[in-house]
Amino acid sequence: MSNLTNYSDEIFKCIRCGACRAVCPTFGEELDEIAVARGRMALIEAVTGGELALTDAFEKAVFDCAMCGACKAGCPSGVDVPAVIEAARAELVEKKRSEGLIRFLARKSLRDKKSLDRAFSLMALGRAAYGPLAATPLAKYLPYQYEDFKRNFPKIPRKPLSKRIPPVSRVRNAKGTVLFYAGCVINYVYPEIGVAAVKVLNHAGYDVVFAKEEPCCGKPLLSLGETGVFRSVAEKNVSLLSGVEADFIVSACPTCSLTLRDDYPTILTETASDKAAAISAKVRDINEFLLHETDFIARLDAAEMIITYHDPCHLAHGMGVKKEPRELLDAATLGGLVEMREASRCCGFGGSFSFLNYELSGRIANRKVRNIINTGVPAVVTACPGCMMHIGDALRQSGSDAVAFHTLQIFEKAIKR
């Protein structure tokens, strides 16, 4: 699958109309053909056709994509741009042997649960030491030489989600069972969102199962072109998840949902296709689940808030879920939802993208922040822990008092007592 030529039909489908220019977040900043899906497709076609070598500029073009998928969602020809970019990255990893700190760390730490635990406890230490160290002459030895060290990472709590909730949380007269798939960011960085998820799902009448041994879904590896490690992580997930009896698999991280739903069945074709397909059919984003499978909306009180909503890319463009969180949020808040301009434009996070090119990622975030501030609303809600982290960072850097929340934190406030 990593062979780029397998994608030549997909690449040929691009009719070069340029529609992606209107929605591409990196193009919006760079205004350069090298930073838009059409340009990337043209370069990849030139590489597969033998006109262009795997140059450094090519590599940069292919990695400077936030993988938001807005191009695919709006493409007249329906070109699966993210899939082609992933394949091009895999090709670069294989043939150009590109290496870097982020890639190395991702490969080492995301490969299994044990490494993941270790990585995040190291990160917790690092996060605690980072600020003080950055103020000393030792700063130049720190791994991220971000401009003025201004990026705000949330504190990483000592107790991850897996140590905060039981394997099974039951309710009386349960309508069914859902497996809550936390994902790394909720498990290690924002366990409180996971706790809220369990509360909300219980309130909606479902028993909640949580698999403590849950590894990373693997999306960062796939995005970095580490197809081999991705496959092994995906297989671990599939065997773990197929062993759990649940009516639905629900996640509050759209990247995890999208990966489980769409990537596993297309990539694990040889090893676990039936199981991956069965899992895929059960996967729901939590907002989608709450609105369509439960009467949660009728069980909500309105919290005293007025909010605006940011569409996570993998949820809106990847899974087509836009209405659901809005309907729920409108019901869950007294002041209701005020739409911002360009609500479904990327916040700039893009997972590994924000680590590989924080400068560009930050500029994209600033546009989002301007749109948030222009609503005049003090709270921006999103349905993705990654967006929440990135928007929170950008808001703080902008000096705004607005706060970023996950939908679940709002729902938790709005649960009828």
């Binding site: 992606c20 209107a22 205004l31 140059t55």
Partner: protein, 467 residues
Amino acid sequence: MGPDLEEKLTSLLSPEEVVTGPEAAVLYGGDSTRVSGRPDAVVRPASAESIRLVMEYAARERVPVTPRGAGSGLSGGCVPAKGGVVVSTERLNRIIDIDTADLIAVVEPGVITASLHSASEALGFFYPPDPGSSAFCTLGGNVAENAGGLRGLKYGVTRDYVMALDIALPDGRTFTAGSRTRKNVTGYDMARLFTGSEGTLGFITKAALRLIPLPEARAGFLAAFDTLEAASGAVLMIIKSGITPSTLEIMDAVTLKAVASYLRANSPFDGRGDGGNGAPGALLLIEVDGSEADVVRQSGRLLDALKDSGAKELRQAKDTAEQEEIWAARRAALTALARISPSVILEDATVPRKEIPAMVRAIRNVAEKYCLLIGTFGHAGDGNLHPTIVTDLRVEENKNKVKAAVGEIFDAALSLGGTLSGEHGIGIMKSDYMERELGEAGVSAMRKVKDALDPQGIMNPGKIFKG
């Protein structure tokens, strides 16, 4: 020539205005025709002065210059057919002024058309030209190609909104064609000459565009017909009834079927694409605008005309959401067709309005003759149809079939008193057919204009004229 030229241009401009490396030629070599050339250098000027410097240099060294907006054109207009420098305007994207007293917007050439729409509408004013690509195409490109769009019937095309253009001539000198005044008879109408000149006469570095007051109300309608002929007959009835809809779009059975299957639940119509009894169905999508009272009056007449012309089903959008649904279906036409096969050839031959039924028949005959899938939709109100061929051009046989079919579509349009291109331009794609419409004398007259303004032939060579 490549690296040398890059170096020269870098010394002339600031380094970030020059795109270097082997990637540049790939990125800036093509447009939406998927025909591509390879430039020797690419520059992205940050000012009109930089463009002037490039022109001056190009004239001295006889280097071809190809202007480029968003590269979304459908005629190969921005494809560097003879190498040289591609001058891309994407950084020149400032709306310099919106003057609500003179009703003029002054823009740099790289401003996205939709940005001017929203900026002027926020002030209660209206820039009507609305090409299908308005979300990403540029105003400079619109002027150079004299772009049309959905509102041509009532509001005209880009040409009707061009007041003044700042031009960098192919020798590096500059002047302003036209003025900010509605009346201007000072010499030749050079602003009109440069509008639609496809970048072959000079470089548009700034444009003053006319605005009009934003209509206060609008109403949207959808009418279904048994046959495409009936629908195109209804177009004539509507015009004869004395109203001028702001948009009057037609979609044939092939397009309808594609749209219905593409939009599924979100489609405002269903199953109507089959038409029953083997007869093709067709749809008209109509919008009228004006003052509240005027919209009511026009709507009444429109509904009468549609009933009289045998519409099988008639629907008026209840609210803006339903209106939006109708236009979303129209906007999805090209997308839905594009999903069928990897290659899409979007033509724009245009005929006088009353010949639409004949043109529609001619297109269907061509489709049958060459066994090609052709979806026809477009701006029926102004005779500008878009027969859209969906195929796979990687197959050699398809290439030949498409070429022959397109030639016959052109001939049909010309024999009906129409024109090769309503809004996409001639570019590379249609230059072979110019004499069919204009004759030898017509083409030679145009060539004399070209030679007079660009004696060295460095401005966008290989376009409009053969060879």
